[in-house]
């Protein structure tokens, strides 16, 4: 930027009537980008009507800024999507918490029966997970399904939102009912992982429905009838539940691409 163009070249550059060859125009233009002095020269050699036009444009822009809408306030917009999910999940999570509270109460009233909190713990997160990932309940499903963020990560984020309510509720319930925390939380996590793993094939909603029904028929009903806690929920079974959770979670991760599309069974 040491050699400035000849002032007459700059004058001719600024004059729309002057005939300047294209190579010189490019050279001047490149120089002007980096040289304030020469830009001032250009401004000085522009015709009066051009200066009047620029003044009008500047006044117009100033006017637009003062009379136009105020700049949008910066908000933490990442909270927006969660707001929808939270509102949507509130009734279902309230129901889950209510059922757990009833279980605690019933267990206190009928000491002869097996722990209802233990029996219900595996299926407690299922309604919430099914609602959080269902195209019937998410109005923007088709739009979301075509975005790069759609997939297992999003399902896991929504599942985490459900567990954030269900896990503390379960912990409180098992504390009140005086049963092992591991024997409520591990089955809860195992069934959540199972719902996601099975959901990769049949859809999360159906998986939750199927697993919930199977658990009710195969474990809860016999336990209530025989008044005995099933083997799978007795002390010592927690390593089994932990192993099952890890296996199912790993399996779900391998099947991550099954969650990327809008499939008909969601």
């Amino acid at each position: 930027m040491t050699t400035h163009p000849n002032p007459t070249v700059i004058t001719r550059y600024a004059d729309p009537a002057a005939d300047l060859d294209e190579v010189t125009v490019w050279a001047v233009e490149v120089h002007l980008e980096g040289c304030a002095d020469c830009r001032a020269l250009v401004a000085g050699s522009t015709a009066d009507d051009t200066r009047a036009l620029l003044a009008r444009v500047a006044a117009g822009i100033d006017d637009g800024i003062t009379t136009g809408p105020a700049p949008e306030r910066r908000r933490s917009w990442s909270a927006t999507p969660q707001r929808w999910l939270v509102w949507h999940l509130v009734p279902w999570l309230t129901m889950t918490v209510g059922v757990l509270a009833c279980a605690v109460l019933l267990q206190a009233l009928t000491p002869g029966l097996p722990s209802l909190v233990s029996l219900l713990a595996p299926v407690a997160p299922l309604p919430g997970v099914a609602i959080a990932w269902s195209r019937r309940h998410d109005p923007a499903w088709e739009l979301i399904a075509g975005t790069p963020a759609a997939g297992l990560t999003m399902l896991l984020r929504r599942t985490a939102a459900v567990l954030a309510v269900v896990v503390p509720a379960l912990a409180l319930a098992s504390d009140r009912a005086g049963i092992s925390l591991a024997l409520t939380l591990l089955p809860c996590l195992a069934f959540t992982a199972a719902t996601i793993a099975l959901g990769a094939f049949v859809g999360v909603r159906r998986a939750a429905l199927g697993l919930g029904t199977a658990w009710a028929l195969a474990v809860i009903m016999p336990a209530v009838v025989t008044a005995e806690l099933p083997v799978v929920l007795r002390a010592g079974s927690s390593p089994g539940w932990a192993l099952l959770t890890l296996t199912l979670a790993g399996f779900a991760l391998l099947r991550a691409d099954n969650f990327r599309r809008l499939s008909s069974h969601n």
Binding site: E22, V25, P69, E72, R74, W77, S78, T80, P81, R83, W84, W87, D138, P139, A140, W141, E142, L143, I144, A145, G146, T147, P148, A149, A150, G151, D257, R260, R261, L262, S263, S264
Partner: protein, 267 residues
């Protein structure tokens, strides 16, 4: 003396077509709505025409990577998107307006477009500016703070277009974007389409032949899930005769092409 060089002219392309389908088959329920379609689309505005049930919406959904093709090959921006492909990279370059789209009624227009920009994994710093620009481009600036549930049908459609273009997609898919727009808004929309088609591949499905003739660089006609015709609007106009149904030369051309295709298929 000087002309504007568009981004499209300087970007290195590794793929000959933005959209390339070969023998593509896509199911809608149990029925094969797209059945052996061959299609290649480059930069420009392509108008997708066809009678009801021709497979336009199903084709759009497959191109948007929302449904998985049942067979054939589909490449978007040089990447295969059939089978078990990782769709993330391609999806960042897509914009999609479904024929019917749901939304969160309590969101404002700006929140809706911001949420979609976030889902499209745009750089966080670029989001506010891109959102404002998209809302301005569809003419919803004055309504940016209004809740979605208070919008009219035409405004909702425009909010839908804003979310589709917010990430400056290389492939933009608009399924019946002019439904609910009044005549003046349709003129503005045509202007926007021409602007978008300068450096991206835009596919617009519509039942309005006139829209295609005025705003598109290319006409794609499909019937029963197959490609019937691909050509320029000027060529479409010459295809019709006096005896063909339609109020304009373009509509007559459209009916003539369909009639000829059906006659050939019937043989």
């Amino acid at each position: 003396m000087m002309r504007t060089v568009s981004a499209d002219e300087t970007a290195p392309t590794t793929h000959p077509w933005a959209v390339h389908a070969e023998e593509l088959r896509v199911r809608a329920g149990r029925h094969l709505a797209v059945d052996g379609l061959d299609l290649a689309l480059g930069t420009g505005v392509h108008g997708l025409l066809g009678p009801n049930g021709a497979g336009k919406t199903t084709l759009m959904r497959a191109l948007a990577t929302v449904v998985k093709p049942a067979g054939g090959r589909l490449t978007l921006l040089g990447e295969a998107v059939d089978g078990r492909a990782d769709l993330r990279r391609v999806r960042r370059g897509l914009g999609y307006l479904p024929q019917q789209f749901g939304f969160y009624p309590r969101f404002t227009v700006r929140e809706f477009v911001e949420y979609m920009a976030w889902l499209k994994e745009m750089p966080k710093a670029a989001v506010p500016g891109a959102v404002q620009r998209a809302i301005d481009r569809v003419g919803l600036t004055a309504k940016a703070g209004a809740r979605m549930k208070t919008l009219s049908g035409g405004m909702l459609r425009r909010a839908g277009i804003a979310q589709a273009i917010v990430n400056d997609p290389a492939v933009l898919l608009l399924d019946e974007p002019t439904v609910g727009l009044d005549p003046e808004q349709r003129l503005d929309f045509r202007e926007l389409l021409r602007d978008l088609g300068v450096d991206s591949c835009v596919l617009v499905s519509t039942h309005l032949v006139e829209d295609v003739v005025v705003a598109c660089t290319d006409v794609v006609l499909i019937n029963e899930g197959r490609l019937v015709y691909q050509g320029t609007p000027d060529d479409l106009v010459t295809r019709g005769g006096q005896g063909d149904a339609g109020d304009s030369a373009a509509e007559r051309g459209y009916s003539a092409l369909l009639r000829r295709h059906r006659a050939e298929a019937g043989r």
